[in-house]
Symmetry: C2
Subunit: 221 residues, 2 copies
């Protein structure tokens, strides 16, 4: 795989962009990270993702792949020599895909609603319950992937960092050591991995980003 | 793979259940189909899909797998000897996964909205545009999978049968030979495949099902 071009169009605050970076680092793949500005979508973002016009866009030798879960599977299939993101057994692979999809299809919309209502009672209940389902799935494993991180852990970085940050920005607790002891321990172990530490944005920066988003606009009123 | 138990909990009117049946037939896998009654969810449905409580549930030697796209990948990985559902090349696999996800994440919610508004102008516009994107992707291929049907075609059975039926039930055209000539030709070729003909429900039955769902309740007013 010499002379190959691996490029990522992403934004620093996006959990979807960061998933791809984590996977590339786990595979030991060198890549160029192009920071996009979503307020003025670049010609190359529109060219390579005309359907959704969103980051991340992954470019491998000029060929675009979009949708973060699709990109992660592509990376796993293309760079076989690095750490596998999915297990080998078809049933275990199905279980990983199920939980990755659960996080994207259930937990993420619930987090969006939680932010939208600034911690409305019903939204708090829903997200706490969804996190409990993940806690229950984790059982006594260190990571969802077993002894090392895999697809569900990477996708779950949204819990370990983003959900932790938005609960502070909103000021309503949804994910704590008391509510979800196993998942909380998982998040600590996950955030302690060297690849994760060097890839995810600093917590303080992300918190400032979310606090400013949640503030009433300075020009309103 | 002797003495294996392959069972599907599904309902006849569900495109998600039918996807799994098509895939099993393409692989030449014998299975037992258990027709569920969604008005009174069975103990085994609740036992095997406690998270979503939905069909289809696929049981392989007693192990449950849920979410139709996850099941299709499982079937493709488990029965290698039959017709492949996904191509071999990682980039082509990513493209297939992208369009399968597009149908589920974009087209399906648009179809639900179209039915909900009984063909409201904005919803018609949206679904026609989404179908045009699929038309554009099809290009001059016979099937999304090339010369034979694959993952996107199977997932796309929702267009060939269900969308065709709901537009008749609602009485507003969204998918016709004039609007989407290539996709329409694809749907004819797809519906003409012997496995599809023997697996999908009779059009008249599905139309009657949707017409009765769209009728004002006999007990109301």
């Amino acid at each position: 795989m010499a002379n190959q071009e691996v490029k990522l169009l992403g934004v620093w605050e996006s959990p979807f962009s960061k998933r791809v970076e984590i996977a590339l680092k786990m595979k030991g793949v060198e890549y160029e990270n192009v920071e996009e500005d979503l307020s003025t979508k670049s010609p190359q973002l529109l060219k390579y993702n005309p359907i959704h016009k969103k980051v991340p866009v992954f470019l491998h030798n000029g060929k675009p792949i979009v949708e973060s879960l699709v990109i992660l599977e592509y990376i796993d299939e293309t760079w076989k020599s690095g750490t596998p993101l999915l297990p080998q057994d078809p049933l275990e692979r199905a279980t990983s895909r199920f939980w990755a999809k659960f996080i994207d299809d259930k937990l993420l919309p619930a987090a969006v609603k939680f932010v939208g209502s600034k911690g409305g009672e019903q939204d708090v209940e829903e997200i706490v319950e969804l996190l409990s389902k993940l806690e229950n799935e984790l059982k006594d494993k260190k990571f969802f992937g077993g002894e090392s991180i895999g697809l569900v852990d990477i996708v779950g970085s949204i819990i370990a960092l983003w959900i932790d940050v938005i609960q502070e920005a909103v000021g309503v607790e949804i994910f704590t050591k008391e509510k979800h002891p196993k998942l909380f321990k998982w998040s600590e172990d996950f955030m302690d991995c060297s690849i994760i530490k060097e890839t995810l944005p600093p917590r303080a920066d992300l918190l400032a980003f979310w606090q400013s988003r949640l503030q009433p606009s300075a020009t309103s009123g």
